[in-house]
Amino acid sequence: MIHPRELDNVSCLAMLSFEERAALALRMIEIPVLPGQDILREGSPSSAAFVLLDGQLSVRKRLVVNEQPYELPGILPVGEWFGLVSVLDGAPASARVRAVTAARLGAIGKEDFEALLRSGDPVGPKLLRAWLSSIADQLQRVNESVLMLRLFLEQNKL
């Protein structure tokens, strides 16, 4: 059972009132994970969106260009959602997410989320907006990296 106060630290949910976070918490399930356990595997679609409530997770995005694998490693902070893009567009996850320590997750299944959107409860569009904002923030960071790489390649005529 997830207490609504645990969603206070989920930054992109700041636009939800306490009552709305409580309604969302009721629709979520709590998942305990063990160190070393994979929560998402790259190449597999995700059936749920997850938020880290406690513990530490590693994230590794893997992309293959001209048969050369490139990886974006990182540590997921508490309060961060993951699995969003895959749950929204239905395509396979591009990242592997693995527990570094014992951890607790909150999860909302794809079907439960879609039912929430259809229900007319404002929590549905508010949650979708929060998720899109989180993806747009990540996109902005990738855009900035791409700009720096383009500039470097242009300056060095590569």
């Binding site: 990886e71 404002p122 470097f152």
Partner: protein, 175 residues
């Protein structure tokens, strides 16, 4: 100015390729269009300037707009936005100020959904807000996956030299 009722179907048909409208049926598209207004912009007029607070998002109905930048000290349109394309949707999603100045390159008209209207639709759980967000969802997820691949391709090219490999690593990428 509101779109005249007898033109709503025609405008909705013209927006079929727009990422926000293409997943909507005709009835939903007309219903969403009714929540916004149309505006005329004369050639050279600034739609919004870099740093302005977000006032909603726009869809070009006629004419052309330029996303302005500066090259060699001169203002330059870095990207051209034409009929059926969106302007300012990322700023609306992230609730952040405008990241660039957008100027009309010809006499143009746009459909505008005010940020305050969008927020009200969301707060009320209005199905139109869900339709708009689901359109944005498709577009943002596509852009995110595409841009990751572009990043990986550029990282691969930059890694051909030592300095580039260091830059790639400093950006958080790993071979």
């Amino acid at each position: 100015m509101q779109i005249m009722d007898d033109r709503l179907d025609e405008v909705a048909r013209n927006l079929r390729a727009n990422p926000i409208f293409k997943s909507m049926g005709a009835v939903e598209a007309v219903s969403v269009l009714k929540a916004g207004t149309t505006m005329a912009c004369g050639e050279g007029e600034v739609l919004f300037a870099e740093g302005d607070p977000c006032d909603g998002f726009y869809v070009v109905l006629t004419g052309r707009f330029g996303v302005m930048g500066v090259r060699d000290g001169e203002p330059l349109a870095l990207a051209i936005i034409g009929p059926g394309e969106c302007i300012g949707e990322m700023s609306l999603t992230r609730a952040t100020p405008r990241s660039a100045t957008v100027r009309a390159l010809s006499n143009s008209t746009v459909w505008h959904l005010a940020g305050s209207v969008f927020e009200t639709l969301i707060a009320q759980g209005d199905t139109r807000a869900t339709h708009i967000l689901q359109g944005l969802q498709v577009e943002i997820c596509r852009r995110f996956r595409d841009e990751l691949l572009v990043g990986a391709e550029l990282a691969a090219r930059a890694s051909a030299v030592d300095e580039g490999r260091l830059l790639v690593e400093s950006l958080g990428w790993e071979v």
